[in-house]
């Protein structure tokens, strides 16, 4: 493609991401660790 002679060179940082990226799946909350059953005092 013919775009003519280079006029200037610069760096562009987009303000917003130009890529519509798929949002990551929400992280699942870690399952609560299994607890030992509480001891029930015998009667």
């Amino acid at each position: 493609m013919e775009i003519g002679e280079p006029q200037r060179t610069y760096t562009v940082e987009p303000v917003e991401d130009p890529v519509p990226r798929e949002s990551p799946a929400p992280e699942e909350e870690p399952a609560e660790p299994l607890r030992e059953p509480e001891e029930v005092p015998g009667r």
């Binding site: 493609m1 013919e2 003519g4 760096t11 130009p18 890529v19």
Partner: protein
């Protein structure tokens, strides 16, 4: 073009595919640069992309007619995987070299895609659906008032005239 039953955008000039959901990053495709980049003792690319002294980078133009001409570039060459041609608006960022009528940049992603009309409307609709993976608007260029629609009409008309003139002179 068709790639594993999916539609993907491909450069008209190079064998470069546009990925979905991530940017296209430019590299220098000049033969000598590619050879030098593969030399075993080189750990870094020969030069950044793009640079003024080279012609590398991802190109875009501010001239809709020039962009529309690319709908027909190499159209006489048999390319079995190419199913349709489109044109579009593109976001460019990173390193950018600005020319008189356009830019070349290190990073790019389509912003909006335009499909020229075809007598086979179902085909165009199928292409539009197939390009949805890019997550950007895909429009069919009906006889609208957008500059790119007018440019495509002009380029088509000029090609028809040239073909007609060629048949008359031949």
């Amino acid at each position: 073009m068709q790639q594993r039953r999916r539609l993907r955008l491909r450069s008209v000039v190079f064998d470069t595919m546009w990925p979905t959901e991530t940017e296209l990053t430019a590299s220098c495709n000049r033969l000598w640069t590619r050879v030098r980049n593969r030399l075993a003792w080189r750990s870094e690319p020969v030069h950044d992309v793009p640079v003024s002294r080279c012609s590398c980078g991802i190109y875009a133009t501010n001239d809709p007619e020039l962009a529309a001409e690319y709908l027909y570039l190499y159209s006489e060459v048999h390319q079995p995987h190419v199913v349709y041609r489109c044109v579009g608006l593109v976001s460019l960022w990173g390193s950018v070299v600005e020319g008189e009528t356009g830019w070349r940049a290190s990073h790019a992603y389509p912003q909006r895609l335009f499909l020229p009309t075809s007598p086979r409307r179902d085909d165009v609709e199928r292409i539009r659906a197939g390009l949805a993976d890019y997550g950007v608007p895909v429009d069919i260029l009906d006889d609208g008032e957008m500059p790119i629609a007018r440019a495509v009409q002009r380029v088509r008309r000029d090609r028809r005239r040239r073909r007609y003139a060629a048949t008359q002179s031949g």
